[in-house]
Symmetry: C2
Subunit: 431 residues, 2 copies
């Protein structure tokens, strides 16, 4: 059987936000790319499968990045001296304009994809730019990497940089349909799918939003966008959409706010009204929580405990280049840290995130957007990391949960030795 094997090692995965499974020195079975279970003793029927002995190593699910801007990778760590709207026009838009040049795009996206391939994330929901050729190039590179991704050609036909903005709604819609049909038919990727990506309300005219809804209906596509990141942005949306009760309603007006059959990710959700939470809950809209970006751009702290209490689905996002780090391990520790400040400074009813909860958000929580992903429960897709954490030594024996905590806070002192996506080791593609 292709993609069927057994790993032996210390297996850690989330069952629910509060429940972490820790199986020391156990057998993790991959059967045709799916997880068949975790066992203390290897059941008879799997004994004929190839066994890889990773004794002493940690085996975790691959991490899931629910929000990352591929073209912004080139200026990560730079220009974080502004708030969102100014930052977009000053840094992000001029950089994204460069991706009309395919030679630049190949170089820049090449570095981004290689970083992602070597890091701990196995899945990502990715913003490209508004350029069709460069967006398809990015999808080609991601497909070749073995990662599983949703990639969006961005829509933006107003209030943007003159070198970047699309000519009008008609052009944007035509290009989007061209891109979608090429991605789905001509390219026929195995691991890379298109996701509709209106940048955010200020960048998208009403006509564009209407057209995107039509494309969504026609192709049954998921959607990703931004919501309530920054106070200035929210005030701007109020001006642009005076009829909408709030920012969420401005999307909902066009039928672009989740619901049955239209899986939707909204990044940030920092400043949310109670009615918006009700709508998100009803529509099963995913929150992409991007704690570091929300610090770097001085946006604030998203009320994650409120989302979790309501059962709103939440995952983590690196939001490169609002965030500096592609690794979702970093997003886990950032999420815990800012949740403690939220509790301390804003709301003592909002208990800080535990390490188990943060690990859940960065694996099974975000993974749910991709299906049965981000855990080692039976029939989950087999995304797994084998991690050598011997660099994080202690003068006493560490428990598995302590070792997991160290990996989360100090991933750079660990080595990712194997990285399986859908049962395939993507670190060995180039070897």
């Amino acid at each position: 059987m292709e993609n069927s094997f057994v790993l032996k090692g210390n297996v850690c995965y989330s069952i629910s936000p509060g429940e972490l499974a820790l199986a020391a020195n156990s057998y993790l079975v991959c059967e045709e790319g799916l997880c068949a279970g975790v066992f203390q003793e290897l059941p008879e029927q799997y004994r004929r499968l190839p066994l890889e002995d990773c004794t002493g190593k940690m085996i975790l699910p691959g991490l899931v990045d629910l929000h990352v801007h591929a073209p912004q990778y080139t200026f990560r760590c730079l220009g974080m001296d502004m708030e969102l709207i100014e930052w977009l026009s000053h840094y992000a838009f001029p950089e994204e304009a460069k991706y009309s040049d395919l030679i630049y795009a190949e170089k820049a996206y090449g570095s981004f994809v290689e970083d992602l391939r070597r890091g701990p994330n196995t899945r990502a929901a990715v913003f490209a730019t508004c350029h069709v050729p460069a967006s398809l190039l990015l999808m080609d590179l991601l497909e070749a990497s073995g990662l599983v991704t949703l990639v969006g050609k961005v829509n933006m036909d107003r209030n943007s940089h003159p070198d970047l903005q699309e000519a009008d709604a008609r052009t944007s819609i035509r290009d989007t349909e061209d891109w979608v049909s090429r991605a789905l038919k001509e390219k026929a990727y195995r691991n890379t799918e298109p996701i509709l990506t209106p940048r955010f309300i200020p960048s998208c005219s009403d006509d564009l939003m209407v057209g995107l809804k039509e494309i969504q209906r026609k192709y049954g596509l998921p959607l990703q966008s931004h919501l309530s990141e920054n106070k200035g942005e929210i005030a701007w949306v109020r001006e642009l959409c005076p009829a909408a009760a709030n920012y969420s309603a401005a999307y909902d007006h066009f039928g672009l706010f989740g619901g049955e059959g239209t899986p939707t990710i909204m990044a940030h959700c920092v400043w949310m009204e109670e009615e918006e939470l009700e709508l998100m809950e009803a529509r099963r809209v995913f929150v992409a929580h991007c704690p570091q970006s929300n610090m770097n751009l001085a946006s604030g702290i998203a009320p994650i405990r409120r989302f979790l209490n309501r059962g709103i689905p939440v995952g983590l996002g690196s939001d490169v280049a609002g965030g500096c780090h592609t690794s979702i391990f970093r997003a886990m520790s950032d999420a815990i840290q800012v949740s403690k400040l939220y509790w301390r400074l804003l709301d003592q009813q909002a208990a800080p995130l535990t390490i188990e909860e943060a690990f859940y958000l960065g694996t099974k929580g975000g993974g749910a957007f991709f299906g049965k992903v981000g855990s080692f429960l039976p029939s989950y897709e087999f995304d797994a990391l084998v991690i050598d954490d011997s660099g994080l030594r202690a003068p006493y024996d560490l428990s598995l949960s302590q070792r997991l905590a160290r990996i989360i806070y100090q991933p750079d002192r660990c080595a990712i030795e194997r990285k399986f996506v859908r049962g395939r080791d993507i670190l060995r593609i180039d070897s």
Copy 2:
């Protein structure tokens, strides 16, 4: 001349909080362990010195950690689900109690010192435990590492863990004087000095504080302690010292709050009254700002802009194991990030820290506690890092300030190739 040489490369250093010097492809001269200047063309009188060509590399001052607990290194990243007082009794005190065993201490301190030696910090103000033999052992190891440090045997004679607490004030004072005189006379270290270290007001009886003041007078020692980290702690100090107007006054009552000839570091300073700032300013008390620890233990955010506006001296602290990371690069980016949240959530008059300011705090700002340290201005002690940042590539040329920003946010993607302390490369000690 011993310790005299020239480095050629891209030299970056702080002149003041707002002024960064960036000298591309320049000559940095070390003369007998001191910085002789940075030059575009090498002056005639230095041309006979050995020249090391580091063209293309970044050359930065060594970083300064103003607050770190050496014995807590063993449990970094663990047990951060509590606030300060509970965390101390549950995690920190039981771990510190282990250092009565010199075999454990050697193993544990060995890892800590090796981590420090390989990292970017060249100076540190270090808390040990209350044990004299283990504190001297730590000093021996630090001395052998080539780092320059101030190390404190901790005083704590009340409200602590039974296995750790000193028997009474007399014992604590006797042990401290024993330790000080052995460190100064018997050991006669070149790079390692004792610093008085009453843990914090709740751990130290009045008699102990009186005795420490006498030792300070007799030996002319600097002092380090903790101040106003956590709201529960502050309330406790108010109960313990009802006569003191505030936490600072509780130290000042014993003459242990800075002033001429008694250099003092107070770690944290999160929740400060205006009168305390006045006193700190008058007494030139150094603030050790520990942003990550203040997140991890849900303490809050220190008002660094208020300190800087008053000209209170500020440096950065890792506060391992309240903080997870020994590197002061991490403290720089954490300091910027929390200052943005402070501005956004608490006080829009308190402008966020710039990257230049954070770099200053982690070099020249904290370095001032050690003398002329943390910069490449003439006659500063020659602490320097040669950094290969080629792992942080971009598809366009980065300016030196952009490269510096990347190093600060992503130090783990860089390699420290040379690390000079007082003109001596301490990475080559073992080679």
